[in-house]
Symmetry: C2
Subunit: 78 residues, 2 copies
């Protein structure tokens, strides 16, 4: 069964670079990778917050958040 990886971003330049490089490097034979744009899917901001995401881009692996560089605060996307 695949483990869950969710990459949250907001379309910012830092986000785009992280998606193009880091998110695509994840092993899709072990992880189901979902890409979520919080700018266009703002209904999912609370979901991201609930696992501890503070800024984007962020990668959540099996519920553990990793903030990658810094693009924007989650609070600025509301």
């Amino acid at each position: 069964m695949s483990k869950k990886a969710i990459f949250y971003h907001a379309g910012c330049p830092v986000c785009v670079a992280a998606e193009a490089n880091l998110a695509q490097a994840i092993d899709t034979s072990r992880y189901e990778v979902e890409i979520v744009h919080l700018g266009s899917q703002s209904s999912r901001i609370s979901e991201a917050e609930s696992v501890g995401v503070k800024s984007v881009p962020a990668l959540v692996l099996e519920g553990v958040p990793f903030h990658i560089n810094f693009g924007a605060n989650l609070s600025d996307l509301k």
Copy 2:
């Protein structure tokens, strides 16, 4: 031919979590993953700095640095 992924850390708790979760999620069929402990391999700090690493843990994919959460500044490891 494998692409190069280098995970720089310094043994800090934030580093250990990032290695256990994020570094191990990389697709090793496409990336050759190297783990470098800058505390014990301080000779490689300048190499990390040269590609733009400012803090650990950091993952460098094909020369592009991604800072993951925040453990320690590179300058504090010297």
